[in-house]
Symmetry: C2
Subunit: 406 residues, 2 copies
């Protein structure tokens, strides 16, 4: 498997992308993007579980229920989420499908829609339509990077990559881009994960691969515990290179490559978390099952007290233990252990049997002062385990979010 | 009913309190307190549900299981939580009981213990014992305020009050103090609520009254979503005034007074929340039941994005709706409504049918700019309702918690 840090959604064969600035963002940055395939794609997606789903999410769910085997294009805008916009919002999302379909010569139900930005404001359709026209004119196999830029909101860097993997039948490429740096939390975030591949893969297999990869990546990250109205992870497979993913071996290799790409793009979101100055991996093990491990890891990852301790480079493990203790998972504190470290597993043990070891404060402080470090919290109830990635809670997070609309 | 803002735990007859500085707090402030009754008390308490319970919580649970009808005194220290301290921590908490019992001439199982402060450090027992001796020497009916000061950690003001209520049999006084300004969240917080009364009331009735009042007060507040290892709410009833709470009418009046005192002391905690600049009441109604209303209200109250919007005086209702949507309670967004206001209910409607009304941004901004305001979020599923109180998430919160131990 080859990892391409400068890869994009147009790294796989047969995809082109374009972007434009249509005035949704005040600063004139790219805010509209489009990508399409030279042939119909199998498609799979997962969406926010928030009860308040944005219009594009509702439209995409309906579109994919109707047609998951001949998607042609994806259009997306930043600067306006088209959420909490009622019936008009729905018809505006449909109008985006129609406009793209007309420009590309396909059907409306072959187009998926993404929107991200402020909630509760109707899309300015004149700008949107102009933006789509310009983005269509910009379509090129070289413009995957511009598409990644056009879906940014409070993101400070575009997030994109690709992987190339040798299957028994030949080489397959998977490309992707992600966005989101606030409202990031497991079970989907204010976040897009948008992926393409030139492999030949059935829609139902693609769906299973997508869900498996999401569970290990986008569902394992947390910036602030908030989930959004617009979260979408999708993948289009156009089969342009004629290499089929069907037997067990090719599926395994494809899945591995997909996981690697998804984890990278998900971690990129945390690294670019709003105001984040640290990237922390939280490992929980020894629970009854993986689900309870995930529950504890999430509670630690979203604790304001834990995250401010990270920000202060304070090895305040008491907060980690206190967060674990309120995760809703019963355990005996006398049987807990905690390690921290920068590289290898379990470098420095801070707790054994629920009480502090004789570690030196300066050693613990040295770990927490690193921009990246890891935590291992272990119980003795079974073989359940989970890993999540989180950031710290800083002054800059407050600044960014207290002043978002001003 | 008469509310006494300057009342304390020694406002009821027969209680004395004392405090001392024994060197647990670096700044030399009061950090040890003791109060006792001139006769044995009926007692009731609720404790943290955190799996990681501090030694004093474990000791108090055991003490009350053994003896809830003849408690004589409560000793408490700040500066050290005696949590995650293993077997030595337990024996140190027991040693505090023994020291107080010896000084007051009662049994160890007639003494309750409170500790709050840093987690994972053993109590310096020499200082603790000296502090207890000094606090015993300080005992006086006039020192309720000093006791309130001695349990403060990051609190900026002591929190105390009393209520006086006319029962059919005579006047009863209930006094109380609370502490806590971080790790504050429903289902108990890093928080003490300590109460006394001179009424004659059976231990089981007292327990029911306590639980009812807690559910409407200390369980309805949130500063940061974290719950601690040491949370304790307790009440001692010494019967010193001979007025009995037994029939329905006296119970009703007593409960009303207790609720009022508890709500006041709980709200004081939020008002003094770490770095808090706003006090926000969140009302949710129209859910299937009160529990689901509480669940939604809590999710709004603990959302980092909602709380930073409060800090920025930003009427960003999209974040409120998005938080409600991830509370785990199914609802139709087309049937949601939202109002905000400063005084009366439902002053300014922002949402109807899940989409914005034609309100003026400046009117909404004016509400969010107030130091205190209210939110009403309504569904149409039933008659469930809940109210919680929360604060904003500010730069000062981050500063306080990033630098807590340094």
């Amino acid at each position: 498997m080859k990892f391409l840090a400068d890869g994009t959604i147009t790294s796989p064969l047969g995809f082109v992308a374009g972007a434009s600035s249509c005035g949704l963002k005040k600063n004139g940055a790219l805010d509209m993007m489009l990508f399409s395939s030279d042939r119909p794609c199998h498609a799979a997606a997962v969406f926010t579980r928030n009860q308040v789903a944005a219009a594009p999410v509702i439209v995409d769910r309906r579109t994919l229920a109707d047609n998951d085997s001949a998607i042609h294009a994806v259009v997306g805008n930043s600067g306006n989420a088209n959420a909490c916009t009622g019936a008009l919002g729905l018809s505006n999302a449909e109008a985006m499908q129609t406009a793209v379909a007309a420009a590309l010569g396909c059907e409306a139900n072959q187009v998926l829609v993404l929107s991200t930005g402020v909630i509760g404001v109707q899309l300015p359709m004149e700008k949107i339509n102009a933006g789509i026209t310009m983005a269509v004119g910009d379509l090129s196999a070289d413009h995957g990077m511009q598409a990644a830029q056009a879906i940014m909101t409070t993101d400070t860097v575009p997030k994109h990559a690709a992987v190339r993997v040798e299957l028994p039948g030949g080489t397959v490429t998977i490309g992707g881009m992600s966005k989101g740096s606030g409202m990031i939390h497991p079970d989907m975030a204010t976040m897009f994960g948008v992926h393409t591949t030139d492999a030949v893969i059935e829609a139902d297999v693609l769906d299973q691969c997508l869900r498996t990869a999401v569970d290990q990546s986008y569902n394992r990250i947390s910036v602030d515990g908030d989930t959004s109205t617009n979260d979408t992870v999708l993948i289009l497979a156009n089969g342009a290179n004629g290499v089929t993913v069907d037997d067990a071996r090719s599926r395994e290799l494809f899945q591995e490559a997909l996981n690697k790409l998804f984890v990278y793009l998900a971690q990129q979101i945390v690294r670019d978390g709003e105001g984040a100055s640290k990237f922390v991996e939280i490992n929980v093990a020894g629970t009854e099952n993986d689900q309870t491990a995930h529950q504890i890891a999430n509670t630690i990852a979203t604790s304001a007290l834990v995250k401010t301790a990270f920000a202060g480079s304070d090895a305040n493990w008491g907060r980690i233990l206190a967060a674990a203790g309120r995760a809703g998972v019963p355990f005996e504190q006398e049987k807990t252990a905690l390690w921290v470290g920068v590289a290898g597993p379990r470098e420095l043990q801070l707790l054994v049997g629920g009480t502090p070891t004789a570690y030196l404060e300066k050693d613990a402080a040295a770990v927490f002062a690193e921009p990246e470090f890891k935590i291992w919290f272990e119980l003795d109830q079974g073989s359940g385990k989970a890993t999540v990635w989180t950031s710290d809670l800083t002054h800059d997070y407050v600044s960014i979010n207290a002043d978002y609309r001003s």
